[in-house]
């Protein structure tokens, strides 16, 4: 699905939130929303606009069994909440064994927790405007460049009706490749496509251009390129 028209995206987002976008179109839009931050942002705006319509309904108390079912269902993946207590009158060796076992559980738990948090990200580039002291964006990615995070800093300023778009600038001189629209506030996590990953791998520089809201519609930067930065050399 290729809807680059911001008005079209907004109309789809509205009907998605309303519930009248249905069937396959709804599923497709759901996937699109989870991939593209600028689509997600429009969905959120509609969710916030309309939620008041449903908040007027008088509350209804759920039956008691509902909570016990929820508790049962989350209990399965909530994981161990308490570490086993060491035996009261343990021998020295038993105590050592227990501590080692506990350590294994804790370290294992820590790594499981880390892996649940998502990929390990390393700094990719920092984009700072000329003469500015505060960076506009910090970019980070995992070592396979599958996962990209852009965090807006104090140097990024939102402009009404405009979006910032991130580009990989290939070293071989071919055309910039879009890595998507990035927010001027907060951060965004994105899975890069194979094509984006290949482009980024062959680029030692990245850039940000100012584009119409929702990003460039031509596949190439159309507005001024405001930021260029060298990628951090992998350690």
């Amino acid at each position: 699905m290729k809807h680059d028209d911001p008005k079209m995206i907004d109309a789809l987002a509205a009907e998605y939130v309303l519930g009248t976008l249905s069937g396959r179109a709804r599923r497709r839009f759901e996937r699109w929303r989870s991939r593209e931050w600028h689509v997600e942002r429009r969905v959120q705006a509609w969710e916030e606009r309309l939620s008041g319509l449903a908040l007027r309904l008088p509350p209804m108390r759920p039956s008691p069994h509902v909570w016990s079912q929820i508790e049962k269902r989350i209990g399965a993946n909530a994981g161990p909440r308490t570490a086993p207590a060491p035996p009261q009158r343990a021998s020295r060796w038993q105590a050592v064994a227990a501590s080692v076992a506990l350590l294994v559980v804790l370290v294992g738990g820590f790594f499981m927790y880390r892996s649940m948090l998502g990929p390990q990200l390393q700094p990719l580039a920092t984009l700072t405007a000329q003469n500015a002291t505060e960076p506009a964006w910090d970019l980070s990615a995992d070592k396979d460049l599958r996962h990209l995070r852009a965090r807006a800093g104090a140097g990024a300023t939102a402009q009404a009706g405009k979006s910032y778009e991130l580009w990989a600038l290939p070293d071989n001189g071919s055309a910039p490749v879009s890595l998507g629209v990035i927010p001027a506030i907060g951060e965004i996590d994105r899975e890069l496509t194979d094509a984006q990953r290949a482009a980024l791998r062959g680029s030692s520089k990245v850039a940000v251009s100012l584009e119409p809201e929702g990003g460039s519609t031509t596949g190439a930067p159309t507005g001024p390129v405001l930021f260029v930065a060298e990628r951090v050399k992998p350690a």
Partner: protein, 202 residues
């Protein structure tokens, strides 16, 4: 935006619809963050505060309480699993929670699951008061602007949007209820949404 619009009293409403939006938002945000940190007590508190409002909205869409209560379980399991994603979106917690509940209800409504409950008792619900004098007081401060803009839509647009959003009606359902051609209904809704957006952004 209407700055500090006078508030009607909303005592006795569920906290999710409490007038003191900022404090309530902060508290809900804190509870969601605690859920992300795997604190199941926090989920319980979030449930106590918000489940009655979410259930009301789901029963409206699904019409059958048993089906809605089953779907409500999915909603809280989903909140538990996705709590970590809330932080990055920087939105209002009530809209986030309400959306998870509504999308779940709409999916269930359009699935075969709903067929299994066809024989179940239909919940008797009061009609929504759309024409003037709607009860917006419970919907919080931010709803003042929505109420104002909503009342400016044409009665057809208002009814179409309300049937879809609150009752989970599809375009075809609305065409049937209002006895209008499908194309007409689609355009009511499309234009209604566009005017709503324009009015809210003013």
């Amino acid at each position: 935006m209407a700055p500090n619009a006078p508030q009607n009293s909303a005592a006795g409403r569920s906290p999710i619809a409490a007038p003191d939006v900022d404090t309530e938002d902060l508290e809900l945000t804190r509870l969601i963050a605690a859920c992300a940190a795997r604190n199941s007590q926090a989920l319980r508190q979030l449930y106590d505060r918000t489940a009655p409002q979410l259930l009301a909205c789901m029963v409206r869409i699904l019409k059958r309480r048993a089906l809605a209560e089953e779907a409500l379980q999915d909603v809280f399991v989903s909140i538990w699993q996705r709590a970590g994603q809330f932080e990055s979106r920087r939105g209002r917690p009530r809209a986030w929670l309400m959306s998870i509940a509504r999308y779940r209800a709409i999916d269930v409504l359009r699935s075969e699951r709903a067929e299994l409950y066809r024989e179940a008792e239909i919940e008797q619900l009061p009609q929504l008061v759309t024409e003037g004098g709607s009860d917006w007081a419970g919907a919080g401060r931010s709803a003042a602007a929505l109420a104002r803009c909503f009342e400016r839509l044409s009665p057809d647009q208002r009814r179409g949007i309300e049937l879809a959003f609150v009752e989970g009606a599809s375009h075809a359902d609305i065409a049937r209820v209002t006895q209008q051609p499908l194309g007409t209904v689609k355009s009511w809704i499309r234009r209604g949404l566009a005017s709503l957006r324009q009015c809210l952004e003013r």
